[in-house]
C-alpha cells in the first residue's frame, strides 16, 4: 500500500516534469523556436523545422490543449525528434552514446567518494576529541565542500595536464585506439578519467564524511551506547556494530539519491574536461539552442532521479518498517 502510494506520487512528479517541459518554452518572452529558425534561415533542413514546430507548437493553429496531448503522446512513445547540434542524429541516439560515459565517470566517483568519505566520517566521529582525527579533517572537508567542483577541476587540469603534462587535457579516451573491449582501450579510458575522477571525489568526500560524522556523534550519545560501554564490550565492536551501523541509514538514503543524481551530476566538470557525457551534451544543447535535445536530457535526468527515489522508498520501508505506517 505504502509502495503503491509512493509510486503514484512519482508518476505525478513525472507528469509535472513533462508538463514543465511543455510550458517552459511557451512561457518565455519572444519565441525561442522562431528565433532559432530565423537565425538559421535557409540552412535548416525541413525535418529540423518540423521537429521545432512540434516541440513548440508554432506555425500551427491547433489549440493549446490539443498540442499538449500530441506532445504527451510523442514523449510517452519515446519520440523526441531530431537533434540540431548533431544533425541528423535523432535525440535518442545522442543520449545513447553519451549516457555510458556519464554513468562510468560520475558513477564511479560517487561510489568512491561515498566509501572513502563514510569511512573517514566514522573515524573522525569516533575520535571527536582529537584534533588530528576530527578537528583538522573536518575543517578541511568543510572548505573543500564549498569550493566549486569545476574550479578544482580547472586547477588540476592546469597543473597536472598543462604544466606537468601527466594527463590528457580533454576527451574520454585516446581516439587513435579503436573502441573495443581491449586492454589498451580500457586503460586509455581509465587514464583519461583520472583527473575528472580525482576532482569529483575530492570535492564530494567532505559531504559524506561530515554527514557520517554528525550522525555517528548523535548516535553515540544514545543510552544503548552507554550500556554497551558499561557491559565492557570492546571499543571496536561498539564503534562498528552499535554506532556506525545505526548511523548508516541516512547515509544510505543519501547514497541512493546521489546515484539518481549521477545522470545530471556534474555538468560543469564534464564541460571542463570536454568529457563526452550527458552533462557535456546538455551544455552543447544549451549553447546551440538545441531545444529537443535539451528537453530530452532533462527528462532522462528526471527519470533517473525518480527511479532512485522510488528505490530508496522501497529500501527504507524494508530497513525501517515504521515509515510505511505513517
Amino acid at each position: 500500500m505504502y509502495i503503491l502510494k509512493r509510486f503514484l506520487f512519482y508518476v505525478s512528479i513525472f507528469w509535472a516534469a513533462i508538463t514543465l517541459n511543455f510550458i517552459l518554452p511557451r512561457m518565455m518572452p519572444g519565441n525561442a523556436a522562431s528565433s532559432v529558425i530565423a537565425r538559421a534561415r535557409g540552412q535548416m533542413p525541413p525535418q529540423a523545422i518540423k521537429a521545432l514546430e512540434l516541440a513548440f507548437g508554432i506555425n500551427n493553429h491547433t489549440p493549446m490543449i490539443k498540442q499538449y496531448f500530441g506532445y504527451l503522446w510523442n514523449t510517452l512513445h519515446g519520440d523526441f525528434g531530431v537533434s540540431f547540434t548533431y544533425f541528423p542524429e535523432p535525440v535518442v541516439q545522442v543520449i545513447r552514446s553519451a549516457l555510458p560515459w556519464t554513468l562510468f565517470l560520475i558513477g564511479s566517483s560517487t561510489i568512491l567518494g561515498f566509501l572513502i568519505g563514510t569511512v573517514l566520517g566514522i573515524y573522525s566521529g569516533w575520535r571527536r576529541d582529537s584534533m588530528l582525527a576530527d578537528g583538522a579533517p573536518s575543517l578541511l572537508f568543510m572548505i573543500l565542500n564549498s569550493i566549486p567542483q569545476f574550479w578544482v577541476a580547472l586547477v588540476f587540469l592546469f597543473i597536472l595536464s598543462y604544466k606537468l603534462g601527466w594527463f590528457p587535457i580533454a576527451h574520454a579516451y585516446d581516439i587513435s585506439i579503436p573502441v573495443t573491449f581491449s586492454w589498451q582501450f580500457v586503460l586509455s579510458v581509465l587514464y583519461y578519467a583520472t583527473l575528472p575522477l580525482l576532482a569529483l571525489v575530492i570535492t564530494s568526500l567532505g559531504g559524506w564524511s561530515i554527514g557520517m560524522r554528525n550522525n555517528l556523534v548523535s548516535v553515540l550519545s544514545e543510552d544503548y551506547i552507554m550500556l554497551a560501554h558499561m557491559k565492557g564490550l570492546p571499543d571496536r565492536q561498539i564503534m562498528m556494530n552499535y554506532g556506525a551501523r545505526n548511523a548508516m541509514l541516512p547515509q544510505i538514503t543519501g547514497f541512493a539519491l546521489a546515484i539518481g543524481g549521477i545522470v545530471g551530476g556534474a555538468v560543469v566538470v564534464e564541460v571542463v574536461f570536454s568529457y563526452p557525457g550527458i552533462g557535456y551534451a546538455l551544455y552543447q544543447a544549451v549553447s546551440n539552442h538545441d531545444y529537443p535535445l535539451m528537453q530530452t536530457i532533462f527528462l532522462i535526468i528526471v527519470i533517473a532521479v525518480l527511479l532512485a527515489n522510488f528505490l530508496v522508498d522501497v529500501l527504507y520501508s524494508w530497513l525501517d518498517p515504521r515509515v510505511a505506517d505513517v
Binding site: 571527536r128 565542500n145 564549498s146 566549486p148 586547477v155 604544466k163 548523535s218 552507554m226 545530471g264 544549451v286
Partner: protein, 230 residues
Amino acid sequence: MGTNSLGQDVFSQLVYGTRVSLLVAFAAGILTTFISLVVGITAGYLRGIADGILNWITNVFIVLPGLPLLIIVSSYWNTKSEWPIILIISMTSWAYGARSLRAQTLTLRERDYVLHARLVGRSWWKVVGTEILPNMLSLVISGLLFSMIGALLAEAGLDFLGLGNVNTVSWGVMLYWAQNNEAMVNGLWWWFVPPGAAIAIFGGALALINFSIDEITNPRLRRKKVKLNG
C-alpha cells in the same frame, strides 16, 4: 595579479566582482529562505488540504534536479541583470528548507505552550511570530547559510557556462572569460585562480559559521563522549 586579455587589472576585477557574486549569494539566500519559511510554516501550521497541496509541490521541487533545471531555465531566459538568476536560483532551491521547516512546525504546534497560546485566542500570526518562529531560528539560519553557499556555487557554475549575465563582472564571469580566452594553454593562471579562490574562501567561511552554529545549538553534538571503561 596582472591583467586580463583586455588589459584590465585582475585585482580590480576581483574586488569589483565581489559585488555581483555576493549580491547573488545574499539575495538568493534570503529569498530562498523566505520562500521555504512561508511554504514550510503555512503547510505545517494549517495542515489539512493546504498542507497536502503545498507538500506535494515541495516534494516535486525536491525531486526535480536543481542544476539541470537551472541551466535549462536560464537558457530560455535572456539575462541582462542578476535578478533573473537570483529568482531562478531561489525558485529551484527552496524545497529542502521548506520540508525541514514544515516538519519542525508540525512538532512545535503540538507543544503545550503553543497550544496554550492558541487556546487563549491569540491570532495565528501572533502564535507563529512569538511561539513558533523563535524556536526554529537555528534551523532558519543554517538554512540561510546553506542556500547562500548553494547560490554562490550555482551562480559561479552558470556564469562559467556563459548562461549568466556575462556583461558585468562577477567571480563566475571572470572564470568564463578566462576559459574563453584560453588561459590554460597560455599558462595564465592568474586569470582563473583568484576568482575561484575568492569563491572558495567565502563559501568556506559560510560553512564554518554554519558548523559552529550546529555545534552550539545541537546538544547532542556538543556533549562530550561518555567513557566508562577507559
